[in-house]
């Protein structure tokens, strides 16, 4: 059995239901994500269109994150899932340097790496990943890609030639596929990221990976003192209040 994921971008309507379901299911802390839906506006007025791309770990068959992990915290499950053992992780961030998709984050509460696991804990008890269940338009299709009769295999066969993966040139062999996406949605260079001009919030850069209040010394003291520092979202709030340039550029 090899589990795979397919998103039909023709169906996705950008409701972010999957994003929220993932956050709730996996208790993903503020400022971090396992799954996100990126919005892209294409074309020039009046010929424009908005496209939505859910992004998560691709569970690569040849995963650079697994290869670089010095302690096997990242490991393959028999069903093909690239899983992570947070008790093993030493927090070296090697995997964050290796994943070409930016799918891994440093959990500010546990100080360990984390990412989408295709909800391995749910799969174990025969359930679907939380994001699949939450999708109102069934744009998320999940199943065994080695079984020719599974929904996902049939979908892939039906859309032969139009099935894409992210960054195939990286030779990571993702088991996460897209249908209906174009170059602009999947290629980071094919779209612009204009600072301070966006739909709902400013596109910001996180200066701190992990909890801003959790400094180097705290990492050493944490086992004795516990971790009391709240996850600090101030950096977003500060930049969000800088609305002047935002408005100058036509933001709302």
């Amino acid at each position: 059995m090899k589990l795979g994921f397919l998103v039909d971008l023709n169906l996705c309507m950008g409701c972010k239901g999957c994003e929220i379901a993932c956050k709730v299911e996996n208790e993903v802390p503020l400022s971090t994500w396992r799954l996100r839906v990126k919005y892209i506006d294409l074309g020039t007025f009046p010929d424009t269109r908005r496209s939505f791309t859910p992004l998560r770990c691709n569970h690569c068959e040849s995963a650079p994150c697994e290869r670089i992990c010095p302690v096997s915290a990242l490991h393959y499950l028999e069903n093909g899932i690239v899983n992570i053992d947070s008790d093993r992780c030493i927090g070296c961030a090697g995997c964050m340097m290796a994943c070409p998709y930016g799918a891994i984050y440093m959990d500010p509460e546990t100080n360990t790496a984390d990412k989408c696991t295709y909800c391995a804990h749910r799969i174990e008890s025969g359930m679907m990943p939380a994001c699949v269940v939450a999708c109102p338009v069934e744009a998320n299709i999940f199943g065994d890609i080695e079984d020719d009769h599974s929904h996902i295999s049939l979908y892939i066969m039906e859309h032969k030639g139009a099935v894409q993966v992210r960054k195939p040139e990286k030779h990571t062999s993702p088991t996460h596929f897209y249908v209906g996406g174009g170059n602009a949605t999947l290629n980071p260079l094919a779209h612009q990221r204009i600072e301070g001009f966006s739909l709902f919030n400013d596109i910001t850069h996180l200066e701190h990976v992990g909890d801003k209040n959790h400094g180097i010394l705290d990492r050493f003291l944490a086992p004795f003192t516990g971790h009391h520092g709240p996850t600090d979202n101030a950096s977003f709030i500060e930049s969000a209040t800088d609305t002047e340039s935002h408005e100058q550029e036509g933001g709302h």
């Binding site: 400022s31 994500w33 996100r36 990126k38 919005y39 892209i40 506006d41 294409l42 074309g43 020039t44 908005r50 650079p64 697994e66 290869r67 670089i68 992990c69 010095p70 302690v71 096997s72 093993r88 992780c89 030493i90 927090g91 961030a93 090697g94 964050m96 340097m97 290796a98 994943c99 070409p100 998709y101 930016g102 984050y105 440093m106 360990t112 170059n183 949605t185 980071p188 260079l189 094919a190 779209h191 612009q192 990221r193 204009i194 001009f197 966006s198 709902f200 919030n201 596109i203 910001t204 850069h205 996180l206 200066e207 701190h208 990976v209 180097i216 990492r219 050493f220 086992p223 950096s235």
Partner: protein
């Protein structure tokens, strides 16, 4: 940064999560920099002992391992403090994953440090016969096994090669940071070690023979020259993926880190090259020391920038 106008698609990201900034920052730079000194002094000591008589460089036998010991401990300390779970460092030894060059490097560096410690104890015990008094067993054992130093020295030189270059392999495994993945990175690490090693030894070479000092200056001059040429090749001419090219184009056009890069290049490579050349004629030790300081500072700056630039690649 890389957001040039893309007429073909006219695509703009309008909603996304905040993008993670730098993950490996200056702590890792200190790590690499200190490691270059720690391994570089071993290479240089071997080279000098091969070329000259030992009594031309009387303090080298004990000061080389002391310098290496201090640098390697700085390197390991900074490796540790960069971990988000520092106490779990032990997992690298109890649950090693051998496909990871982080694991292989940590094991080799630990072995290297262990052997350097032995060299240091022997070297210091021999250099200071009164040390520890007559009853000190450690110095007595060290003195009785003095010949061991020369026996393990070739092994040390051999081990110093992978210890100094394994960081390049970690970078090669960092598939998300394409600018690090250049094969030349291995040679760049070697040149950095020769540069840092010769610069560090210059400070203790005051009592050495002129020829030995000239050799040090020669290695420093060569190392900064070839290192500079390799950086230039990488910076301007190598063929990379479109993403890496886009980031470099942004830096070339005066974007973030451009000033730091050229400042580091001038300070650490161009000026020391001319100072090193002038030492060959003038034998002015002050100038050579100045070159050594600049080389160490410049190497740090350039390594820091080279570590950070590739992390600007957009990943989604």
């Amino acid at each position: 940064m890389v957001e040039s106008t893309i007429n073909a698609t006219q695509a703009v990201v309008t909603l996304d999560v905040p993008i993670q900034g730098l993950v490996w920052g200056s702590i890792i730079t200190v790590n690499m920099w200190a490691k270059s000194i720690g391994t570089g002094v071993v290479f240089l000591a071997a080279f000098l002992w091969f070329r000259h008589k030992k009594d031309e460089m009387p303090n080298l036998r004990w000061l080389m391992p002391v310098l290496a010991f201090v640098s390697l401990n700085v390197f390991l300390l900074f490796t540790l403090i960069d971990l988000h779970q520092p106490y779990r460092m032990i997992h690298i030894f109890t649950h090693p994953h051998w496909t990871s060059s982080i694991t292989v490097g940590a094991w080799m560096a630990s072995l290297f440090l262990a052997i350097i410690t032995i060299l240091m104890v022997i070297g210091v015990a021999d250099a200071f016969p009164g040390l520890g008094g007559k009853k000190c067993k450690l110095t007595a054992i060290a003195r009785n096994n003095s010949g061991f130093y020369e026996k393990i020295m070739p092994f040390m030189v051999f081990l110093a090669i992978p210890v100094t270059t394994y960081t390049a392999i970690i970078m090669a495994q960092s598939s998300a940071r394409e600018l690090w993945q250049a094969p030349t990175e291995v040679m760049q690490m070697m040149w950095a070690a020769l540069m840092a090693g010769s610069a560090a030894l210059i400070f203790i070479s005051g009592s050495w023979s002129k020829e030995a000092r000239k050799d040090l200056a020669l290695v420093l001059t060569f190392a900064v020259f070839f290192s500079f040429m390799m950086y230039m090749g990488e910076y301007f001419f190598s063929f990379k993926s479109s993403e890496a090219e886009a980031v470099l184009a942004y830096v070339h056009s005066g974007g973030a880190y451009s000033v730091e890069f050229w400042f580091g290049m001038t300070l650490g490579f161009i000026i020391p090259f001319f100072l090193g050349m002038s030492y060959m004629k003038s034998e002015n030790m002050t100038l050579l020391r100045f070159a050594a300081i600049l080389a160490l500072v410049g190497l740090f700056l350039v390594k820091d920038v080279w570590l950070k630039i590739p992390q600007m690649l957009p990943l989604s």
